[in-house]
Subunit: 348 residues, 2 copies
DNA sequence: CTGAAAGCGCTAACAC
DNA sequence: GTGTTAGCGCTTTCAG
C-alpha cells in the first residue's frame, strides 16, 4: 500500500494541481514557470518532504554524478588519507562516491569490480590502489573496454593513461641530499617490498644519489622490508652486520624507521650521532619518535583531490572511451621535514 | 548516435531473437527458459559484453543493494579501520557502498547527507561517525523521518536505536585493573576530548577503578588532551607538576601515550620503573614504542562488520521506519595487550 | 507559461 | 516456455 515511501514527483504534481513537467521545471530551477505556480509547488514540496530521486535522474540523463573509487589497504594510513582527499573534493564538486575495496593489493581479478561500478552507472573511476606486482597488467588492455574515464593513482606514468601521484623518486632524492649534506658517508637503505612501484622509486633515488656522489650502492648496503615496524627492526639488524661502516639509513617509510630506532636503542647507538635516519610519509607519530624523525612528507590528501578533479575534467570533456586520453600524468612533489634524527651539526 | 554505450537488454533480446522478458529471466537465473534458448541468450550476452543495469533494477525493485556509509576523520586510523571492516562485510553480502564523509566530527547539519543518500535509494545507512558533542541530538527526532534502517557506531546506547561499538568503559577497566595489579598506586589519567563519548567512557573507568579500590580521583590527577601526541606531551608535563606522587598513567589513546613517553624520556624517567603506562587503541606502532606500550585493543574492523550485518538484518526484516526498532545495542569487548610499559614485576 | 506523450533499462503480472 | 503490457520516477521533446 505504499505506506511509508518517499513521495514521487507525481504526488507533488497532483497535490499542487499541476503536471509533473512543471514540478520538474521547478526542482531544476528552470525559468519558464509562473512565479505563483512556482511558489505553490515549492510549498507543496516542502509539506510533502519531497526529494527528487537521483536514481531516476541518472537513468534518463545517462549521468549519475557518481564516481567509483577503488582502494585497498584502508587499514593503513596512506590509502585512507588519499580517500579522505577524494571524499572532500567529490563532495565539493557535487559528486557521490561508490566505494570498492580490494581484499589484497595485488588482486588481479578486477573485472567484477568494474562491473559492479559500471552497472551502477558511475561517470568515472578513480583507481586508488597502489601499483604492486602485476596488478596493472590489465591497464590498456582493450578487453576491459571501459566506457568511462579512469584515473590511476600511485602508478608508473604510462601512455594514454591518466595518472596522479607523488613523485617518490624526487622525495627519495630529497632525503638523500639531506643526509649527504649532513655529512653522512655510509648510507644504507631499507626498502619497502620491491613489487611496489613506490618502493622501487624510493630505492632508485637512494642508488642514484650514492652513485652521483661517487659512492657505491652494493647489495650489503640495503635490505628489503615489508613496510611494517617489525620488518624495519629485522632489516636494521641485518644491515648492522652486513654494513658495519654504516652511519645513516634512508628508510622506505616511517613505520620501518620506528623499528630501526628500537633496534638502535637496544644496541646503544645514538641517533643522530652514531646513526642518521630519514623516513618517508610523515605519519603523525613520527614527530614524537625518540628522536623525532626526519621524513619525506607526501600530501596524500592532495593526491585524492587532484584525482577527483582530473576525473571530472575528463567526464566533462565528454570522453567516451574511444579516442586515447589527452593523458595527464600528474606528479606532485614531496617535501622534506627535518627533525632531530638526521641533524648532527650543532646549528644553534 | 549511441556510439559507445553499454548494450541494453533490448539489444540483447533483438540480437538473440527473443523478448526482453526472456533475457531478463536468463540473467536472473529463473527456471522457466528452454535450455537452448538460454544457451543462445547467454552467448549473445557474452558477445555483446552485456551487463544488466543495477540502476534500472533498483528503480523497479525498490531495492538498490546499496548501503550508505557516513564517516568522519578518515585521516585517522580508527575510522578507516572501521571502514575497512564495513567494505569487506558489504562486499561479502553483495552490497555496494555509497560513502559520505563529514568535514568535521561535530557537524550537525546532517540533513543534506541523508538526502544525498536517500535520493540514491540506499537500502540502509551506517552512521560511522563517533558521538561527539551535540552531534547526536537529531537522532530520534521525527523530523528526519527516515525510511530506511540505520545503525549507529560508537555512540551511547539509546532507546529504539540500533547501535554497535566497542565497550570503552570495559576496556578502561581492563587497563586499570592491570595497573593496580602491577602495584601502581598513584595512577593519573590523560583523557581524550571530553565531548567525545568514548573519551568519557574511558575516563569513567579510570575514576571508578580508583574509587572501588579505595582511592581518590581528584582533579589534579587528570588532564584532558585532544588525542594528539602533542597534547599527550603537554598533559604529561602538567600532571608531573600537579600530581608529583604519580607512578602510572592510563592514557586515552596510544598517540597521546607516545607524547608521554617523549616527555618521560626527556625527564629521565624510566618506564615502567618510575612510571607505568597503558594506552588505548593498539595502533600498529605502539608495539615499537620505547618501551613497547601496553594498550587496550579494539577490534574496529569487527565493529564495521557487525554494523553491516545488523543493517542488512534490519533491511531484510522489512523495517520501514514505522514501528520502533527491535533495537539491538551491540557492545564488543576489548582486550588488553600487555607489553613492557606497564610491567614492573620481573616475571622471568 | 504549461501539459501530453515517449522513453531511460529493467522487471512484475499476466496472458498465451 | 515465451511474449505483452505496464510502470519504477524522472526528463525530454514537442504541442499548445
Amino acid at each position: 500500500m505504499n505506506v511509508n515511501r518517499r513521495p514521487t514527483i507525481k504526488q507533488v504534481a497532483k497535490a499542487a494541481g499541476v503536471s509533473t513537467q512543471t514540478v520538474s521545471r521547478v526542482i531544476n530551477d528552470r525559468p519558464d514557470v509562473a512565479p505563483d505556480t512556482r511558489e505553490r509547488i515549492l510549498t507543496t514540496i516542502e509539506q510533502l518532504g519531497y526529494q527528487p530521486s537521483a536514481l531516476a535522474r541518472s537513468l534518463i540523463q545517462q549521468r549519475s554524478y557518481t564516481l567509483g573509487v577503488v582502494t585497498a589497504g584502508l587499514q593503513h594510513i596512506g590509502p585512507s588519507r588519499t580517500l579522505n582527499g577524494i571524499t572532500s573534493a567529490a563532495e565539493e564538486a557535487g559528486y557521490a562516491l561508490l566505494l570498492e575495496e580490494l581484499p589484497r593489493y595485488d588482486a588481479d581479478d578486477v573485472v567484477p569490480i568494474f562491473q559492479a561500478l559500471l552497472s551502477r552507472h558511475v561517470d568515472g573511476i578513480i583507481w586508488a590502489v597502489p601499483e604492486v606486482g602485476e596488478n596493472r597488467n590489465w591497464v590498456n588492455q582493450q578487453a576491459l573496454d571501459l566506457t568511462v574515464p579512469i584515473v590511476y593513482l600511485a602508478m608508473e606514468p604510462k601512455e594514454n593513461v591518466a595518472t596522479a601521484g607523488v613523485d617518490n623518486y624526487h622525495g627519495g632524492r630529497l632525503a638523500m641530499s639531506h643526509l649527504l649534506e649532513e655529512g653522512y658517508h655510509h648510507i644504507g637503505h631499507i626498502s619497502g617490498p620491491l613489487d611496489w612501484w613506490e618502493a622501487r622509486q624510493r630505492m632508485a633515488a637512494w642508488k642514484a644519489a650514492l652513485q652521483e656522489s661517487g659512492r657505491e650502492a652494493r647489495d650489503e648496503q640495503w635490505v628489503e622490508g615489508n613496510w611494517s615496524s617489525a620488518s624495519g627492526a629485522q632489516a636494521a639488524e641485518r644491515l648492522f652486520e652486513s654494513y658495519p661502516e654504516m652511519d645513516a639509513i634512508f628508510v622506505g617509510n616511517d613505520q620501518m624507521a620506528l623499528g630501526v630506532i628500537q633496534v638502535a636503542c637496544q644496541k646503544g647507538l645514538k641517533i643522530p650521532g652514531d646513526l642518521g635516519l630519514v623516513g618517508f610519509d610523515n605519519i603523525p607519530e613520527s614527530a614524537f619518535f625518540c628522536p623525532a624523525l626526519t621524513t619525506v612528507q607526501q600530501d596524500q590528501h592532495l593526491v585524492g583531490k587532484v584525482a577527483v578533479e582530473e576525473t571530472i575534467k575528463m567526464i566533462q570533456s565528454g570522453w567516451h572511451g574511444l579516442e586515447p586520453v589527452a593523458s595527464q600524468s600528474i606528479m606532485l612533489k614531496s617535501t622534506l621535514v627535518v627533525r632531530q634524527s638526521s641533524v648532527r651539526s650543532r646549528k644553534e
